[in-house]
Symmetry: C2
Subunit: 185 residues, 2 copies
């Protein structure tokens, strides 16, 4: 995890990973077969820990949205994991990256969770699906984008405060007709 976070996947060397793990390269490859499989294993391990932390059930509605703000707050105390996701999610759009479908699936799953939570929290229906989808993408995006800014300049970025502000403002907007107003013509 540390090596992928510090160098990205493409630039990470198996030699460095093996050395930090106290193994030979052959030893690492005995367990993971390839650098690509090692990467996806690392990402799956991270996800399992997050799921374990959530306990037996995923929070619903407003509670799930609060969980996202809490995650942004907790993230400010785990720079390594934030860096891992920030670097790898963006790097995954480069040609033939081994984590491309991992991140595509991850966003697709997250998008559905956030949309469901917004729909429940605002008491919306099928007719609002388009606006809810735009809001769900925005909430995920704001959390991701803040991570890069925060990694570069932690004193200028309060990830929890900005996430909270966006979620609160979107909830207020979705809950009323006012959100039909658009900035662009």
């Amino acid at each position: 995890m540390d090596t992928f976070a510090a160098r990205g996947y493409n630039n990470a060397s198996l030699a460095e990973i093996a050395e930090r793990a106290g193994l030979t390269q052959a030893g690492v490859l005995h367990y993971f077969r390839s650098k690509a499989l090692l990467l996806t294993s690392v990402l799956e391990l991270r996800d399992q820990r997050d799921i374990a932390q959530l306990g037996t059930r995923r929070p619903q509605g407003l509670e799930f949205l609060r969980h996202l703000v809490d995650t942004a707050r907790r993230n400010a105390e785990r720079e390594g994991i934030v860096r891992l996701y920030a670097v790898l999610s963006a790097e995954s759009v480069t040609d033939a990256h081994p984590a491309q479908s991992y991140f595509r699936d991850r966003y697709s799953g997250l998008r559905a969770f956030v949309a469901e939570a917004l729909t429940e929290a605002c008491g919306l229906g099928e007719a609002d699906a388009r606006r809810v989808g735009a809001a769900a993408n925005a909430i995920i995006a704001v959390m991701d984008g803040l991570q890069v800014q925060w990694l570069l300049d932690p004193d200028s970025v309060d990830m929890a405060a900005s996430t909270d502000l966006v979620v609160t403002s979107l909830l207020a907007g979705l809950g009323s007709d006012a959100a039909d107003r658009r900035l662009a013509p």
Copy 2:
């Protein structure tokens, strides 16, 4: 630009760049001295084009915020540039990356522009600086985060719609009548 966008900086090879430009590696290095200098030159060239496109003055207040939504809309038609920024901004947080201060400075400048525009659009004062700063970071973050999602899954992400929704909701949340105004040109 194409090579950095497709591979990231760390994984881009001068040999490939030289071949695509119809030069030898020595020829490329004659003009740019190093891969790192080539990267920063590419980023500066992009910025100059964007500045040239803005014309003689930067739009102010609501007009600047509308310009951001327009940028998100235009970006959906220039995948290469979006990929360049998405990949490199995140990669810049890896160890000793040559574009790290470029992106730190870029975010710092953008943050000031967006905060100024929000302050003007909402008629706010010094007392609101903290909330305005959190909103400015969020607007920049949402634009960045949407790019990664869109690159992975363009059919599921409408960058302009999500950006518009966030800007409009934040304007309303910051306690302004500004969001009521339609911005017909």
